[in-house]
């Protein structure tokens, strides 16, 4: 459905993303794992043609037979939001502080051509319900909600027009593990209901292991390893992937280690 072919992004002479190719099929949960500076965010921005103006992109990104990089801005605008939507890390910054959540929904729908106000409200309340938030959130202001709640609203808005691809850029990085887990559960649930694909960008593969089916590892602008989740995580080939997997503690490893200690004793 989305096929990135030999994409490079430059700033002057410097290559920030170097010859990356990957493809996302319908219904995939594709995890893109990399540290800050690896180019993963730039890659996601390129898909939506949202790169900062001083960067140039070479190569092609095919969304259903059309090269996104070759489209006009008019055409791009119809795709963004309705076929392709984003959720970002900064949940506070994604909202206008002096407008209620309901007003955000209104604005979004009006921009995409929904003119019936009753339908808009219904859609908004349904969307909130689908991410486990009740109606009272509709009238609240962003500062009255927690990070986890705001992030769920962002997801609800992003999924409002039933896009084919949701790009989630570090959406759980700023949240604690419990809130992050809840977010991912809702995302998985919605995905099962509607079948959209997810490009999940993160620096920490551990929370996403349960949900993703495919993984790509990025380092310094290049994809060093990619494939089905089990292949990459259980049988990593590249040294960097191995380093990434072994770096931070997982409960399984910790428990296995303490069991070994107990056996020795």
């Amino acid at each position: 459905m989305l096929s990135i072919r030999q994409l490079s992004i430059r700033s002057g002479a410097k290559k920030l993303v170097d010859n990356v190719s990957l493809s996302i099929r319908e219904g995939d949960w594709y995890a893109l794992v990399g540290q800050s500076g690896s180019g993963k965010t730039l890659l996601s921005q390129a898909i939506g043609r949202m790169l900062p103006p001083n960067l140039q992109a070479e190569g092609s990104i095919f969304y259903k037979e059309r090269d996104v990089l070759a489209l006009s801005s008019e055409q791009m605008r119809t795709i963004r939001g309705s076929k392709l939507s984003y959720v970002f890390q900064d949940y506070q910054g994604s909202f206008t502080p002096f407008r209620t959540i309901g007003q955000h929904f209104e604005e979004y729908q009006k921009a995409h051509g929904c003119f019936d106000s009753r339908a808009r409200q219904r859609n908004a309340l349904d969307a909130l319900d689908s991410v486990g938030l009740d109606e009272s959130v509709y009238k609240r202001y962003p500062f009255q909600l927690s990070g986890g709640q705001l992030q769920r609203v962002s997801i609800a808005v992003a999924l409002l027009l039933s896009p084919d691809l949701l790009i989630a850029d570090e959406i759980t990085t700023a949240l604690d593990s419990v809130s992050g887990h809840r977010i991912m559960e809702f995302l998985a649930k919605r995905q099962k209901e509607t079948g959209f694909a997810i490009l999940f960008i993160t620096h920490d593969w551990r929370p996403v292991k349960r949900y993703a089916n495919r993984i790509a590892v990025m380092k310094e602008g290049q994809v060093v390893e990619a494939g089905e989740k089990e292949h990459v995580l259980d049988h990593p080939q590249h040294a960097y992937t191995k380093q990434l997997i072994n770096a931070a503690p997982t409960l399984d490893r910790v428990l296995a280690a303490s069991r070994e200690e107990a056996e020795i004793v």
């Binding site: 540290q35 604690d176 419990v178 380093q243 503690p249």
Partner: protein, 255 residues
Amino acid sequence: MKLLTVKNLTKSYQGQKTAVHPLSFDLHQGECLGLVGESGCGKSTLARCLLRIETIDGGSIYFKNEAIERLNERQLHAYRQKMQIVLQNPSAALNPKLKIKDSLIDPYEQYRKELSLRYFSYTSKKAFIKQLLDAVQLPESLADRYPHELSGGQRQRVTIARAISIEPELLVLDEPTASLDVISQGAVLALLAELRLSLNLSYLFISHDLAAVAQMSGRILVMKEGRLVDQFHRDQLMSDERHPYTKELISIFSS
């Protein structure tokens, strides 16, 4: 021996609901006590109360059997040398306008009169800073740099070096790896584990990451909405006796 004893500690913020309900626990010398909970559960508030950065509304805190909850700032000075804190955000914990060496020397300059160092020795500022940077596995050349020239992991190591520079007995670590990338997280945790043994420290390790807490700690406390809901030894983590909330955390972290 009990290094820290907390009895019925309570804390609430003006006009808001109670942040910490009556809470009691002990911390033994030489151990790493883990505290796990989600954001907003009061664990950071608790940490600040222990260090007397916040005032307490009720209960008592004993450091080596001496009550410290009512001491004034001057009396607390001696205790502050023995209890240090490492916070979550290393960018905010270092003055961006000062070189690393100037940030590192701060605690030593405050406590040098009362201090008798065992692991570090002070011959000159430069030598002292080098020892500190060595202890956290950073090159000496970083001493003359500014915080923005360092990576997140390096900055966190610097804050750790600053905290251990006066050889405290207890280090409270409030989400020390939360702002770091995965690889730096692993490295910093390994460093902390090593330092605890080589400098004979005790830790209160606070995090929302159950895996990290389980790796670092011998005993674990679980906090939810200001209350201590579970307390157990790491080996008992998978036991059936665990509180439902603990079990929920376990399921989140198991894959």
